[in-house]
Symmetry: C2
Subunit: 524 residues, 2 copies
C-alpha cells in the first residue's frame, strides 16, 4: 500500500464546474480523498461473480485471483455457493467486515439496488463494469442519472459504468476482463475506451513497460478523466500519465488541472474524434460530444499536454518519458552501425524539428583511434560495421560529454545478438569442425557485450542527465527496456528509429514548455 | 529456376544515358539478359572463403549452404583446403566446369585481379561484397573505376562493391552476411543501404512476408537501382517492388523506367536524404549526391512511384500491395470489436484522405439481427464486444457487397485467441473445477473461428476484388499473413490500425494514378 497522506491537497472544490449538476460540486470533490481506497483496496467484492467462464463476472474474479491480489476477495451471487474455490455470498450485506472496493457486473437495471447496498455497507469505491447505461437508450440514460445522484448523495466514488475495469499493479490488483498483466511501473493510463486500453495493456506487457494504474473510465457517469488526472497528480507511484480522450465534459477544468499536473509529470494524450467521421463515431461510442479539435489541441499545448497521433505513440512516449532523463534541448547526436540507417534517422530528426549539429574536431580525433580512416567524421557517426568493441562506447560517450549535444540516438548495437544467433545456427548446421561449446562461448561474449553496452549507456545518462535512446537491430525478445538496480533511469531500445526520434522531439517540446516557467515564475 | 525467356525485351539500349561513361551504354544494356544468371545461378563460387567464423568469407559461404542452395558451391582460398566440409580451390581457374555467380570478399586491391579471372572463366555475374572502394578514398575510387571499366569491356554484370549481398529465395540462394531467411514470395527489395536492408529482411522473416529478391546494391559502381528495376519489370516472380534510395545517378532514366514498370507492378520507395542533414549523411555514406527532394518527389509522383516516409512503411506497404486486391477507390468501411479503436481508425482514415461513407438503411437492417438494439448503426460498425459469432462476418460481408464501399478495415476479430489464452491460463491456475480438456476445447473453438473468419475474408476478396485489411487485437505469433491454397490474395493482419489505413491510402493513390491511363490510352 502506498502512503496517501498528501492526497488531501487536491480536493479544492473551486476547481470544478461540472455542467450537468452544479449541486454535485462539493460531493464529487470530497470523494477524491477516497479514490485511494478504490485503487488500493484491502478487500474486494465482485457482484455478479459467476462460474460461467465466458461471463464478465467470472473473468474479473478469476483475473483478480490469478493476478495475485493478496487482500480479501468476496464473490457475490445468490445462485452460486462456490466460485474458484471461494465461498459465494448471497449479497454484499452478508459479507462479514468491511469491503473497500466493489466491482459490479450485473445488468444495468440491478445497479441502483446494488449501489444502495454499497452505501449501506460503507464501501470505499465502486467500479461499475456493466454496460446498458447512457451509451444505449433513454432508459439507460435514466438509470445512469439515478446512480450518479446516489453516488453524489453518499459521496461514493464510482468508475464507469460501461468500463473494462482497472489495474493497480502496486496493489497486485488486476481487475479487468482482459487478462493482460503489465508489470509494476510508473506509467498511469486513463482510457475512455476499453478495447483500446486492453490492446495497449497487452502491448505494454509484451514490451515490459511498467504500469502504475490503468483506469478504464467508461461512460464517466460520475468520476471523469479530469478527476483521475487530479488523483494521479499526487499518486507517488505515477511519474508519467497517458490518456485516451474522446470527450472532456468540462474543458476549462481539464486545462486548469492539466496545466498544474504537467509541470510535475508529463501528460501524453491521444485525442480520438479529431475528424468529422471520428467525432461521429465517438458520439455513438461513449455518447460524448467531442468539441473542436483545434480548440482542444490549442488548449492542450497551453496546458503542456503532449499530443500523440496514434495509439502506438502513447506507449513509445510513455516508455521514453518514464525511463529517460528529459532532454535539455533539441540537438541530437546519432551513432549508427551502418550508413543507411543513420540517413533515415537524420531525415526523421530534421522533419521533427530536431537539430543534427556537425562534430567538433576534438570528437573526430577521439573517434579516429577506433575507426578506419574513411569513417564519416560527421554526425551521424557511422561505425561502418566495425568490430572494434570500444568504438560504439567511445562514440556515444564523446557525444554525451560534449555540451553541443542534448541527446543521443544509438542505432543497432543492441540486437546484434539475435542476428549473431542466426549465424551460429547456420554454423551448427553446416560446420561440424566448430564445436557447440565454441559457439556458445561466442554467443555469450556477444550477449555480455550488449549487456555491458546497455549498462554503460545507463551510467552515462546518470552522469550527464541527457537521454540516450537505443534502436535495436533486431527484436531481442527481452522487451524494450533495460533496468539496473540503483539507477534512476532505464535503458530504452525501440524497434524503429522513428520511435526514438518521436520521443526526443516530444521531449524537446516539453523542455521548451517547462523553460517558460523557469524564465519567469509561474502565476498561481 | 524461373523461365526467363521474356527478359530480352528489356534490353533496348536507347533507354540508358549513364553520365559517367557514354561508351558504356551498349555493354551495360546487353548485360541485362545476363542478370538472370546472376540471380538464378546453377553454381556459385565464394572468393575469399574462410574458416574464420566472423569473416565475411565465412558468413556468406555458410549462409549459402545453410540456406539450402542446391547448385554447386566452390570455396576459393589458396590458404585453406576444406571449409564447411567442402574442398577449397586455390583460384577460380582451378574450378572444374562453369561458374555462374562469383561472390568476392577479398580486400579491394585484389578485386581487379579476381575480376580478370572471372572474365577468363566466363562467369555469369559477380557480387562484390568487399568495401574499400569509392566510399573510402581516392585510391578506392580509382580501383572502382578500373573494375567498372573491366566489367563494361567484358559485359560482366557486377553488383556492388560495398554490398551486404543478395537473396534469391526462389533459387534458395541466401548470399548475405546476415542470416535472415525470408520465405519465398513476390516482393523484391532493392536497397542502397546494407544495414537497413538487413533489418528489413529480418523483420520480413519474423512477419512471414514473402520475398522474391533482395539486392543490396552497395556503391552501384556498375549495375544501379534503375538497372535492377528494369530487371524486376520482367521477373515473373516479382509482383511488388520496394526500394531504399539515397541517390539516383541518372534521374531521367529512373523516372522513364519507373513510369513504365509502375503501370504493371507497384513501386514503393523510401528516399533517404530528404533533409539537409540527411543529404550530408547520405553523401558520406555511399558517396552519392542526393538531388532536390522536391524534384525527386514530384518525379516519383509523375512516374507512379509511391513514397514511404520510414523503413517500417516499406514492409507494411509491400505486404499490403502483394497480398490484397487494389482498392477501386477511397471509400472505407470499418468493422470494430469496440468503439475507441473505431474512432482512432476513422480519424486516421480521414487524415489520410479516405472517406467513411454513412451506412445505407439496408445494411443497418441486416446487421440489426445480430447486434443489440443500441449498436452504432453507423460506419464504423461497432460490434460492442458481441459474442454473436456471425456478427463480424455479416458486417464485413454487407460492407464488401455494397457498391458504396471500396475497402474494409476489420479491427480486432483476429488475435482474440491470444487474449483468450491468457484468460484460460488464469482459469487453469485458479479454478480446479474446470478441466484442462474443457479449456483446450474452448481454445480450439476460438482458434477455429479465427481461421474460418480469415478464410471468409479471403473468399470475399476473391469474390468482390476489394481489399479487406485486418488489424489484430494482439499479435498472434503466427506472422501477419494468412494464406490459402488456390487463392490469388492473402489475408493481412497488421498490429496497428495506422498500418492498415496507410496501405489503403497508398492504394487509393495508386488507383487514381492508374485511372489516368484507363481514361485515355497511354502514349508510348
Amino acid at each position: 500500500m502506498i502512503p496517501r497522506d498528501d492526497l488531501t491537497r487536491t480536493g479544492a472544490s473551486d476547481r470544478f464546474a461540472p455542467e450537468k449538476a452544479p449541486c454535485a460540486q462539493g460531493s464529487r470533490a470530497n470523494g477524491f480523498s477516497r479514490l485511494d481506497t478504490l485503487f488500493h483496496p484491502r478487500s474486494v467484492a465482485v457482484v455478479g461473480a459467476s462460474s460461467g467462464i465466458r461471463k464478465w463476472g467470472y473473468l474479473i474474479l478469476c483475473n483478480i485471483l490469478a493476478g495475485g491480489y493478496t487482500g480479501a476477495v468476496y464473490p457475490i451471487n445468490p445462485k452460486e455457493t462456490n466460485i474458484c474455490g471461494l465461498p459465494c455470498f448471497r449479497s454484499l450485506r452478508d459479507v462479514p467486515g468491511t469491503v473497500d472496493l466493489v466491482l459490479i457486473t450485473t445488468p444495468a437495471n440491478t445497479a441502483p439496488d446494488v449501489l444502495k447496498e454499497c452505501t449501506e455497507k460503507g464501501v470505499g469505491g465502486v467500479v461499475l463494469i456493466s454496460s446498458g447505461f447512457s451509451e444505449t437508450d433513454d432508459r439507460g440514460k435514466q438509470i445512469e442519472r439515478d446512480i450518479v445522484d446516489l453516488c453524489q448523495e453518499h459521496e461514493l466514488p464510482l468508475v464507469g459504468p460501461n468500463t473494462m475495469g482497472i489495474i493497480s499493479t502496486h496493489s497486485d490488483l488486476y481487475a479487468t476482463g482482459a487478462h493482460a498483466r503489465p508489470r509494476k511501473g510508473s506509467i498511469a493510463f486513463v482510457s475512455q475506451s476499453g478495447n483500446l486500453g486492453v490492446q495497449l495493456m497487452h502491448w505494454a506487457t509484451g514490451q515490459g513497460i511498467g504500469i502504475s494504474l490503468f483506469i478504464g473510465s467508461g461512460n464517466e457517469g460520475f468520476l471523469n478523466s479530469t478527476d483521475f488526472l487530479e488523483y494521479l497528480e499526487s499518486d507517488p507511484a505515477t511519474r508519467t500519465i497517458i490518456m485516451y480522450l474522446e470527450g472532456i465534459e468540462d474543458g476549462r477544468r481539464f486545462v486548469q488541472v492539466a496545466r498544474r499536473v504537467s509541470r510535475e509529470k508529463p501528460i501524453i494524450a491521444l485525442n480520438g474524434g479529431r475528424t468529422d467521421s471520428g467525432k461521429m463515431a465517438a458520439a455513438s461510442h461513449t455518447g460524448s460530444m467531442a468539441g473542436s479539435t483545434r480548440v482542444f489541441n490549442a488548449a492542450c499545448r497551453q496546458a503542456g499536454v503532449l499530443l500523440a497521433r496514434k495509439p502506438s505513440e502513447l506507449l513509445d512516449l510513455s516508455m521514453g518519458f518514464s525511463s529517460l532523463p528529459l532532454t535539455p534541448g533539441n540537438r541530437v547526436g546519432i551513432v549508427s552501425l551502418g550508413g543507411g540507417w543513420g540517413v533515415v534517422t537524420c531525415d526523421a530528426c530534421r522533419e521533427a524539428g530536431l537539430e543534427i549539429p556537425p562534430l567538433p574536431e576534438h570528437i573526430v580525433k577521439k573517434i579516429d583511434r577506433h575507426l578506419p580512416p574513411f569513417w564519416s567524421r560527421a554526425n551521424p557517426i557511422d561505425l561502418v560495421g566495425t568490430l572494434d568493441m570500444q568504438a560504439p562506447i567511445v562514440a556515444v560517450e564523446e557525444l554525451v560529454k560534449w555540451d553541443g549535444i542534448d541527446a543521443v540516438i544509438c542505432l543497432g548495437i543492441i540486437g546484434r545478438k539475435k542476428l549473431a544467433q542466426l549465424q551460429m545456427d547456420s554454423t551448427r548446421k553446416m560446420n561440424p569442425e566448430v564445436t557447440g561449446r565454441m559457439l556458445d562461448d561466442v554467443m555469450e561474449a556477444i550477449s555480455d557485450y550488449e549487456a555491458k553496452y546497455a549498462e554503460h549507456l545507463l551510467r552515462l545518462m546518470e552522469a550527464y542527465h541527457k537521454p540516450i535512446v537505443g534502436v535495436s537491430l533486431a527484436p531481442t525478445g527481452e522487451g524494450s527496456q533495460f533496468q539496473l538496480e540503483g539507477c534512476d533511469y532505464s535503458g530504452v531500445f525501440f524497434p524503429t528509429p522513428e520511435s526514438a526520434v518521436n520521443v526526443l522531439a516530444q521531449m524537446a517540446r516539453r523542455r521548451q514548455y517547462l523553460n517558460r516557467f523557469e524564465e519567469k515564475p509561474a502565476r498561481s
